[in-house]
């Protein structure tokens, strides 16, 4: 039984889509001969040649702009931001150009922007960010955050085949820590569908990305105490699976919203609003958030550990909520 890591799953997804459709190509900084800073595109240059695996200047805005132009002409570009943090340099092209073309003049922009995100690797303020909410707040974009190798591959394929721009946040911490057996044939994970990672009856933890594992680890501990945790992995943030969110809340009646992103304006705020608007009568306790604090991502390990939500945070909040 061959296990596929998260990073290999992304590469497989790119490679299979490039084989399936000649219009798919890759561009970004150091994606060619070097195979990408995280080796996501390793081997693709040899396989597909420099016409379809393009090393670019250090120009994030032009990388996205060029992807937009190529997409307008019918190609399917996959643009890599070397780190998700650098996506800020391309913010204007993504949010003003790519996101609004279809709305303004009917020009679909089918680009995928791959953004290696997240902390836990001692990357400091500019190599650890989770900038998903900038894009979740931009109508016209889609935003996905896979947590498993299966989803990494399936969501990437869905993103490449999607008619609209998709920001694909791949969590750096998971690249080589997560592996699983993948089906051999072609499969797609639909954008906008959550996955129930653990069924439980007492408290729902709604989360995404690397925090799925924090939630699952906490659930194992809490099981010993007789607290039965349900874990819902959103997988997509824009659009998100509203039904799955409301269903889990209606089932357990208590909810913890967990993310690695900072607190104010984080996705938990939107979820809390939706839950209180549409499932208020089902709640048996306050909606609780567990997030990073509202600071930049600190560098030094003790500070970074403090910054990132930990299993112990979930244990504490779950116990409080269970006792409520």
């Amino acid at each position: 039984m061959a296990l596929t890591t998260y990073v290999d799953a992304i590469r497989q997804g790119i490679s299979e889509e490039m084989e399936r459709d000649d219009n798919v190509f890759v561009l970004g900084e150091d994606v060619g001969i070097y195979g990408g800073a995280f080796k996501v595109t390793h081997g693709l240059l040899e396989k597909f040649g420099e016409t379809r695996v393009i090393d670019t200047p250090i120009s994030e805005s032009a990388i996205i702009g060029a992807a937009i132009g190529a997409a307008m002409m019918g190609l399917r570009p996959i643009a890599e931001m070397q780190f998700a943090d650098f996506i800020s340099c391309a913010f204007d092209q993504i949010t003003n150009f790519a996101a609004k073309c279809r709305y303004r003049w009917g020009a679909g922009i089918p680009i995928v922007v791959r953004a290696p995100s997240g902390g836990g690797i001692h990357g400091g303020p500019f190599h650890s960010q989770n900038p998903e909410m900038h894009f979740v707040h931009t109508p016209g974009l889609k935003v996905v955050c896979p947590s498993t190798a299966y989803d990494a591959k399936g969501l990437l394929k869905a993103a490449i085949r999607d008619a609209d721009p998709v920001i694909y946040f791949e969590h750096k911490y998971l690249y080589r820590r997560i592996k699983e057996e993948l089906p051999t044939g072609d499969f797609v994970v639909p954008i906008g569908k959550a996955a129930l990672r653990r069924k439980g009856s007492d408290i729902s933890v709604i989360t995404y990305g690397a925090m799925v594992y924090v939630a699952l680890d906490a659930a194992k501990e809490l099981e010993k105490e007789g607290i039965d945790i349900e874990v819902l992995d959103l997988r997509s943030l824009l659009p998100f699976d509203r039904e799955a969110v409301l269903e889990t809340v209606k089932r357990t009646n208590k909810v913890i919203l967990l993310h690695e992103d900072t607190r104010i304006g984080g996705f938990a705020g939107e979820l809390a609003a939706v839950i209180s608007e549409e499932a208020f009568d089902y709640l048996d306790g306050p909606i609780r958030r567990i997030t990073a604090p509202d600071t930049p991502v600190p560098f030094s390990p003790p500070m970074e550990e403090y910054f990132l939500p930990q299993v112990s945070d979930v244990l504490r909040v779950a116990r409080e909520l269970h006792a409520y």
Partner: protein, 339 residues
């Protein structure tokens, strides 16, 4: 005031100006005159009558640039115009009614009421809608050119912008990337010497936009932007250069903005003598004089052309005025692909 014509002969023969055939010259005159009349109506009549929604930005005095650079493109070439390039839209076949309806916020406008004035695009016409963040089209044009190269097509992109846009980072990133990747793009600068109220010398420390071309490893050429035949000539050489796989080039068209930035701006910050000087260089009258001198056209012929244009625009305005506004809930449509 830099109207001097410098030709570094970097784009071809150096024998200039080559001239387009007479029928092309007449077509050029026609389009410049349509642009002038259309924008006069929009700015001086419809806008003042309150029939135009939002701002109005015209290219009075700059008509030669879009017309001269786009007139001889192929239908499968792509144009990325900027906000004083009305000629590009007309030459590519966008109808007067669609354009006027766009300015009125009507459902029949180029963006169905979703966006305003010059923000028009049409994949059918290979016209890319620019956005208010000027300079953003530069990398997009590079990407369009890249796609032609990847597919082995001999199509080209003409991408234009003003002098102000050349201060944006995207402009520099885009020119560099286009040159590194040898994308078939002709970059056309409408250097009208003012970006809103900011004169050129507060925009850049070099004398010419074209001075930057060598820094990106591409040919740059300065032309008199009010001489449409010179614009045509430089564009033809740049288009041939791009189509031949040599990569991008930059044409700087020296011109002058004969209005404020927009209809609400009286341009009180522009010395009157500049307007007076550039009035004598009006691109439409120059071509008319040339054609009359060459016996290709008579005063009566010009009057007849003008009359026809008036009539076309009258008809288009009449239709656009009767066109419906979008339904309010249309604002919810087309954010994403709809089956």
């Amino acid at each position: 005031m830099n109207a001097k014509t410098v030709d570094p002969h970097t784009l071809g023969t150096g024998q200039r100006p080559a001239l387009p055939p007479k029928e092309t010259q007449l077509k050029i005159l026609y389009f410049m005159k349509v642009v002038r009349e259309l924008e006069n109506r929009i700015e001086r009549k419809l806008y003042r009558q309150g029939k135009i929604v939002g701002g109005v930005y015209v290219g009075r005095g700059q008509e030669a640039i879009a017309v001269g650079s786009c007139i001889d493109l192929r239908a499968d070439d792509v144009v990325c115009p900027s906000h004083r390039d009305m000629g590009a839209f007309l030459i590519r076949g966008m109808s007067l009614r669609t354009i006027i309806a766009q300015y009125m916020g009507k459902k029949t406008g180029a963006t169905k009421g979703k966006d305003s004035n010059m923000h028009m695009g049409s994949l059918e016409h290979n016209l890319v809608a620019f956005i208010s963040m000027l300079g953003d089209s530069i990398p997009v044009a590079a990407g369009i050119g890249l796609s032609f190269k990847m597919r082995g097509q001999d199509r080209v992109v003409v991408c234009s912008f003003g002098d102000g846009a050349t201060s944006r980072g995207d402009w520099h990133e885009g020119l560099n990337m286009a040159s590194v990747m040898k994308c078939p793009v002709v970059f056309v600068c409408n250097n009208n010497q003012y970006a809103y109220s900011t004169p050129l010398e507060r925009q850049m420390a070099v004398e010419n936009v074209a001075d930057r071309a060598p820094a990106y490893g591409m040919p740059g050429e300065i032309v008199d932007g009010n001489d449409v035949l010179a614009v045509w000539d430089a564009s033809q050489r740049a288009i041939t250069y791009a189509r031949g796989g040599h990569g991008p080039s930059l044409i700087e068209c020296k011109t002058f903005r004969m209005t404020g930035h927009s209809a609400h701006d009286d341009a009180g910050y522009v010395p009157q003598e500049l307007f007076d000087y550039w009035e004598t260089r009006d691109p439409i009258r120059r071509l008319e004089r040339t054609l009359i001198q060459q016996n290709a056209l008579t005063d009566a012929g010009i009057a007849e052309m003008q009359k026809g244009i008036h009539q076309e625009i009258d008809e288009a305005i009449a239709i656009a005025e009767k066109d419906p506004y979008p339904d309010p809930e249309d604002c919810l449509r087309d954010v994403y692909f709809e089956e």
